[in-house]
């Protein structure tokens, strides 16, 4: 039926431009609406993806394995039942190569002037680099150079709170498995800066072997963080890791370790859809109005076409296609405009004036919009689909006109 479709489409196209003022205004409205849909979505999406990446990188990874008691008693008493070497062997054998074994215990750090409660992480810097923010956030000094490194890396805010500085010594105190105090002096060799003061104040990093030695725990670790390929789809990885460990080891995906961020992802997906639909509804009144006015003006002409033999379906399709063409152009322009306005913002929108507020959300003070094909596709599909539905009513009505009545309509 391509002949029929071709004629109807040509008629629809020409009809659009008969009243170019009206078409242009409606086109403007659609373009602005689509731009708003995509732009806002990109901003929010970027913010949430950043938050998720930050959350995952500090530090659960996509999947984390630890002793089943660890979340209730995050101390040296809840270490993983396997040795470090065994864990590493099992993971490598299973084909998992991006993981980090860590010691994770509460500790107190003291400088000459002050003390603070922190979480002490004993890491293997080479492995940990792939999973955590540490390597990228180093602002001063150097990173840890190996599992045996006897230096310590702390956050910038902690440096201020303790009133100490790079190169100075601090004492780290924790508990060993016999409930005795285990302490050791460390020299501050590096300072990290993430923009999130809460992290900077509560985390300190040292070499894994050094920490194991200090605590007297031989070759044991507290947790294993594993990184997969896609943070949205971690269930298969969770299963793979679970098979490698005995019953009393808890293996969790990141959504359960940090329910706030897990919830944020779901909410954001929902929000995007709602936002698109709301904008469309606001636009739809104008769209339907345009179509209704167009039909009204051409009642006599439609009647004539029907009398001359055009099938009612032809009228219907003509009007629907008119709508769809308008929407398609608007979508193209809107998407293009959105892309154009997002490009220059790729380096981030700096809202550090509101940094403390963003920290409450868990977001960094620089917003990076992220244009995802999924969101663009969603916007386009929703607009076209709902647009099609919205234009059906006036179109069906028009196709049902009685030719004689329509031709002789005066008003």
């Amino acid at each position: 039926m391509t002949g029929f479709l071709a004629i109807v489409t040509r008629l629809a196209w020409r009809n659009l431009w008969r009243n170019h003022r009206r078409t242009l205004i409606t086109l403007c409205a659609v373009t602005v609406g689509v731009w708003a849909m995509i732009f806002m979505t990109a901003l929010m999406r970027g913010m949430v993806n950043d938050m998720i990446r930050d959350g995952i990188e500090s530090l659960p990874g996509h999947v984390q394995a630890h002793h089943e008691d660890f979340r209730f008693d995050p101390s040296v008493a809840s270490l993983l039942p396997l040795t470090d070497a065994e864990i590493e062997a099992r993971l490598v054998e299973a084909g998992i190569d991006r993981f980090s074994n860590r010691v994770n215990v509460p500790a107190v750090v003291s400088s000459e002037r002050a003390s603070r409660g922190v979480t002490l992480y004993g890491i293997d810097p080479a492995r940990d680099r792939q999973l955590s923010f540490l390597a990228g956030a180093l602002a001063d000094g150097r990173g840890l150079e190996g599992e045996d490194d006897d230096g310590i890396v702390v956050g910038r805010k902690l440096l201020e709170t303790l009133d100490t500085d790079l190169g100075k010594r601090i004492v780290v105190m924790s508990q060993d498995p016999e409930n005795d105090i285990a302490d050791r002096g460390f020299r501050i060799v590096g300072v990290f800066d993430t923009g999130l003061e809460a992290h900077e104040e509560s985390m300190v990093f040292a070499g894994k072997r050094t920490v194991q030695g200090m605590l007297g725990i031989d070759d044991r670790v507290s947790e294993v963080a594993v990184l997969g390929d896609d943070f949205r789809n971690v269930t298969p990885l969770v299963e793979r890791v679970r098979t490698l460990f005995p019953e009393n080891v808890e293996v969790l995906p990141w959504q359960e370790l940090d329910p706030y961020i897990g919830a944020m992802l779901g909410v954001m997906d929902g929000f995007v859809l709602v936002w698109i639909v709301v904008i469309f509804l606001a636009m739809s009144f104008g769209l339907v109005n345009t179509l209704v006015m167009a039909v009204f003006e051409r009642v006599r002409e439609i009647g004539l076409m029907l009398a001359l033999g055009m099938r009612p379906a032809g009228i219907l399709w003509q009007l629907v296609i008119e709508s769809l063409i308008l929407l398609a152009i608007g979508l193209g322009l809107g998407t293009g405009l959105a892309w154009l306005t997002i490009q220059p913002l790729e380096d981030g929108i700096d809202i550090s004036a509101l940094a403390a507020g963003m920290e409450m959300f868990g977001a960094s003070p620089v917003l990076y919009p992220e244009l995802t094909p999924g969101d663009v596709l969603l916007a386009n599909v929703v607009v076209l689909l709902l647009g099609f539905l919205a234009s059906l009513s006036p179109a069906i009505r028009a196709s049902r006109y009685q030719p004689v009545e329509a031709i002789t309509r005066i008003d």
Partner: protein, 409 residues
């Protein structure tokens, strides 16, 4: 101009479907705006109140640099006396001193570092939300010598419950060693991990003895009944500070800068969304009005030839827009108000909101309240833009030549 109004009204209903659709656009946007603004305004108020109620309060008196340095020796001398004076002068009962220090708290099996707070037990329930969140045991009482209240996560980590003993050690005000034993009298659960894991409270006198405070404190916390009275009370408190001493008064904005900024960030993004809605409505109205003017070109031509001024005709067009705008405003405000009121009773939530809300000290279910501001601010802006959008078609009338217009198709 009653004749103008009659004409405008009749013109609107010459094309009922078109008018209804435009009214629909205006009303729809208004309903959305009323709902969203009501939700926002209520949410911010709640967020501020809940966040401040935990520990911060509305106003604090501190030593000059304490807010940045948090050093033991940066104290407010004779804290009880100053608190009493503030109470007397301002008439507020909700004034209390507090001390704080970092301490290592140990149970039989575990040790953790916490922020230890010295509080006046009988004052706290009216000022902070923590006493009300004690769900095991009880809050501190005036007679408690060596009692301590800790958070639920801390209790779990230390493996203690009420009745157990804890030792704590830290650094006193003069730099010497401070240590004491306390009995757990209560455990609170605020839902905020930082508080439940990192805070412990003991009576102010007990703290004073142990840490050699000599009657000084680190903060005097003041809460006020209405948020907008804070600046007034700030001045009052400022006037009561002894001259020469290095004491300053801070309001909650300085104490929790994140709060105001989080709200500003949220307002910023909300504004963007509102702006988009308003612009879309404006386009709708522009389209309608332009079409309605253009299709009446011949009629306007006749009117002009008969002697009616273009200005008068323009006013009729504007009146059409105005009537439509007012109807849309009324309908939108009414429907929006009803929707919001209904949700205000039923509660409004969406999946995932509970977890998100917790980190802002908000409940998982919101009850939006309709206020005059939320009911009319959005719709009024829409009304304004409706009029603006109609201005151009109305002004175009001045360009019409009567004879040409009468011959128009």
């Amino acid at each position: 101009m009653p004749l103008g109004i009659t004409l405008a009204w009749r013109n609107l209903w010459r094309h009922p479907r078109r008018t209804w659709l435009t009214l629909g656009a205006i009303a729809f946007s208004n309903v959305l705006l009323v709902f969203m603004i009501s939700l926002q305004v209520g949410m911010y108020g709640l967020m501020i109140e809940n966040s401040l109620k935990a520990l911060t309060g509305h106003i604090q008196v501190q030593a000059r640099n304490f807010i940045d340095d948090r050093k033991m020796r940066q104290v407010v001398p004779d804290a009880r006396g100053l608190a009493e004076r503030i109470r007397g002068e301002t008439g507020l009962a909700t004034v209390t001193p507090r001390t704080e220090a970092f301490a290592l708290v140990s149970s039989a099996e575990r040790s953790y570092g916490v922020q230890l707070l010295g509080v006046v037990p009988e004052n706290e329930p009216a000022i902070s939300s923590l006493p009300g969140l004690v769900d095991e045991g009880r809050w501190l009482e005036a007679g408690d010598g060596a009692g301590i209240v800790i958070g639920s996560v801390l209790a779990r980590n230390l493996r203690v419950s009420t009745g157990d003993e804890l030792t704590f050690i830290g650094s006193a005000r003069d730099g010497s060693f401070a240590a004491a034993v306390a009995e757990v009298v209560g455990i609170f659960d605020s839902g905020i991990t930082e508080l439940d894991r990192g805070i412990a409270a003991i009576p102010l006198d007990f703290f004073d003895e142990t840490f050699a405070m000599r009657g000084a404190a680190h903060r005097i916390v003041v809460t006020v009944p209405e948020l907008d009275t804070v600046p007034g009370y700030m001045d009052d408190v400022q006037a009561l500070l002894p001259p020469g001493e290095e004491l300053v008064v801070h309001d909650w904005n300085a104490l929790q800068p994140g709060l105001r900024q989080a709200i500003q960030a949220d307002i910023g993004s909300a504004f963007f969304m509102y702006a988009v809605l308003v612009v879309l409505v404006a386009f709708s109205v522009l389209n309608t009005q332009l079409m309605s003017v253009l299709e009446r070109t011949r009629e306007f031509g006749i009117n002009l030839a008969l002697g009616i001024s273009p200005g008068r005709l323009g006013r009729i067009v504007m009146l059409e827009a105005g009537i439509m705008g007012l109807l849309g405003l009324g309908a939108g405000a009414l429907l929006g108000g009803l929707l919001t009121a209904w949700l205000g009773v039923r509660g409004f939530t969406y999946p995932g909101m509970e977890e998100l809300a917790a980190s802002f000290n908000l409940p998982g279910r919101m009850y939006p309240q309709v206020t005059l501001l939320s009911l009319f601010s959005g719709p009024l802006v829409v009304f304004l833009f409706t009029l603006l959008a109609s201005a151009w078609p109305a002004l175009r009338l001045h360009l019409l030549e009567p004879v040409e217009a009468m011959r128009a198709a």
